[in-house]
């Protein structure tokens, strides 16, 4: 059977645009059909914004790559209409085990709190993730939504102009030109767009190599994340074992800096390493082997005129913490409703500056966390090694030291505290977790979930207080969701705390913009203006 990453899903086909005498102008062009580019295309098309995706390839990516998808990503996928297939195919896990030297030192549970539709994490090969997004794109095409992917269309040059972006595109049948009102660059950590525009990408390089091997084996390891510090089978280094669907296991071995990268990738080097880890008798096949080094860095700004960067093209982190693809999906979530409002004339262009503010803030948080994990996992000085080992020795015996163990701080959604679109929280008596800037906290609602009941645009969530139904304020149509805390106690706990009633203004990306004790048209209008950069 052919693997999905071997099949051309969107083969090159000649388009009439290639025969046009003057370059055809598109509303939005996205470069890159990876997880971030495809998600952005779906989000925009669902908002009836015409979108064209250009990809230099014609199939999903090879190898498992990103494998841990967070609860927030799954909630975004629900909004994009493909949450279920990802969760059904993925492996759900909650338990992590930490080993030091020859012994297990402790076990942790990500403790998924009761009352959320989606689990804390699923593991899923990136090629499945991309396949399901692609299938969603096809579904939208069939529904007549304005979305198109062109395979083997490689962008060779970019001209940024005040009112449009010009693209020179190379295809198997020669070059052609297109114009875009807006360009979203989702072309990965080595972003050719960034290079063609001569933009910075500064940060910290970590001098270390990691071997990733995906092995197919029928083993009775449990569905858990196992992390080793200084194990006997990889002395002085770290190791990670994680389960994916189809009996594929991700193994990640730190190799150090001074190695022969090509030699280390050869099966005769890889297989003995894996046998030492898994046991001599375990039978396995290698599906994919790769060696990577990493950097923690970001662009200074994510928006450059009409060119907007998202995902790894804009920011790069170490893999510890699953903060790469998950943060890219949060970029998409943040950007697409804003771009749609700007294109529809409902908001000024400066609304897009809040994308820059909020996602730079998110990137800095991710870089901080992943840098700290990396410093713990791979100590860079004698003293950092001494303290790291001291923490691990204490953690085996004492609970207090376990929070200091850092084998990756797993991705949680960013709270845009002090963000430019937030309305100051006058009532500080409502729960902190649902403060302005935070993403909505899911909760059971009737037979379903709060996360599924929110509108595609702005939503007014009214709990135990009167609120007009589906009003239009400041030219923006609001969906009203009126609920009772008595019938939905977890929702009450998360949104009211000890207060009797409240009204929340929720943005289209399901982040909270403002909240009050009760509905007041003037206050809601002012917050709506602020949340759309018109205040």
């Amino acid at each position: 059977m052919n693997k999905i990453f071997e099949i051309p899903l969107y083969p090159y086909a000649r388009h009439p645009d290639q025969d046009a005498t003057t370059p055809v102008q598109h509303k939005v062009i996205i470069i890159g059909a990876g997880p971030v580019g495809l998600a952005a295309a779906i989000d925009l098309a669902q908002r009836d914004v015409p979108v064209l995706v250009l990809d230099d390839n014609d199939r999903v990516s090879f190898g498992s790559r990103a494998i841990c998808f967070s609860k927030r990503t799954l909630e975004i996928l629900d909004r994009l209409g493909c949450g279920d297939v990802n969760v059904e195919t993925g492996v759900t896990w909650n338990t992590g085990r930490v080993f030091f030297n020859e012994r297990e030192i402790y076990t942790f549970n990500l403790l998924p709190e009761e009352g959320h539709k989606r689990p804390a994490f699923i593991n899923l090969q990136q090629y499945y993730f991309e396949q399901f997004l692609f299938e969603r794109v096809q579904q939208l095409v069939e529904e007549g939504k304005p979305i198109e992917i062109r395979g083997r269309n490689r962008v060779e040059a970019i001209g940024a102009h005040p009112d449009h972006v010009r693209l020179e595109i190379e295809t198997p049948e020669g070059p052609y030109e297109l114009h875009a009102e807006w360009l979203i660059a989702c072309d990965g950590a080595n972003s050719p767009t960034r290079r063609m525009m001569g933009l910075d990408f500064v940060g910290r390089v970590f001098e270390d190599n990691f071997l990733i091997a995906d092995v197919i084996m029928k083993a009775d390891f449990p569905t858990e994340r196992w992390f080793w510090f200084d194990p006997p089978f990889n002395r002085g280094q770290s190791a990670l074992l994680h389960r994916q669907p189809d009996n594929v296991w991700r193994i990640d071995l730190q190799l150090g800096w001074d190695i022969d990268r090509e030699a280390e990738k050869r099966p005769e080097r890889v297989i003995p390493r894996l046998k030492a880890m898994l046991g001599e008798d375990v039978e396995f096949d290698l599906e994919w082997v790769s060696i990577y080094t990493f950097q923690c860095r970001r662009m200074e700004r994510f928006r450059h005129g009409r060119v907007i960067f998202a995902g790894d093209a804009a920011h790069q982190v170490s893999p510890f913490g699953a903060r790469g693809a998950n943060s890219g999906l949060q970029d998409v979530d943040n950007l697409c409703w804003k771009l749609a409002m700007v294109l529809e004339g409902q908001a000024p262009v400066r609304l897009l500056d809040s994308y820059d503010w909020e996602r730079v803030y998110g990137a800095d948080e991710n870089i901080l966390n992943s840098t700290r994990s990396t410093d713990f996992i791979t100590p860079k000085s004698e003293m950092s090694q001494i303290f790291r080992d001291a923490v691990l020795d204490l953690a085996a015996r004492h609970e207090f030291a376990r929070p200091l163990v850092n084998s990756g701080r797993l991705s949680v959604p960013c709270v845009y505290d002090d963000g430019p679109l937030n309305t100051d929280d006058i009532s500080n008596t409502l729960p902190a977790r649902t403060r302005p800037g935070a993403p909505v906290e899911d909760a059971p609602l009737g037979e379903g979930w709060l996360i599924d009941a929110l509108g595609e645009g702005f939503t007014l969530l009214a709990i135990d207080t009167a609120c007009p139904q589906d009003v239009t304020l400041e030219g923006v149509a609001l969906t009203t969701l009126s609920v009772g805390a008595k019938d939905n106690p977890l929702l009450g706990a998360r949104y009211l705390g000890a207060q009797p009633h409240a009204v929340y203004l929720v943005r289209p990306d399901q982040h909270i913009a403002a909240r009050w004790a009760e509905y007041n048209e003037e206050a809601v209008s002012a917050s709506l203006k602020r949340a759309t950069a018109r205040a």
């Binding site: 001494i386 303290f387 080992d389 001291a390």
Partner: protein, 70 residues
């Protein structure tokens, strides 16, 4: 708000000091370094207060012998 104590707080300084050194008896440099690190982590957790710890870190760094003054 708790403050870092900088007045004498040990009831029997000599015996504490003796116990501290006795722990290191017979240890290699690496073993001693590891012991000190564990001790710092245990004490830091006991203190807990971020401001007190920040002040302690600062004072410890500040009290390093001044290389140029000799």
């Amino acid at each position: 708000m708790p403050e870092l104590k900088l007045k004498t707080n040990l009831r029997d300084p000599d015996s504490f000091y003796a116990n501290l050194l006795a722990m290191h008896d017979g240890l290699s440099k690496a073993e001693s370094d590891a012991l000190n690190a564990r001790l710092i982590l245990i004490l830091a957790n006991h203190i807990g207060d971020e401001q007190v710890l920040a002040r302690a870190l600062h004072l410890a760094a500040e009290a390093a012998p001044d290389q140029s003054a000799h």
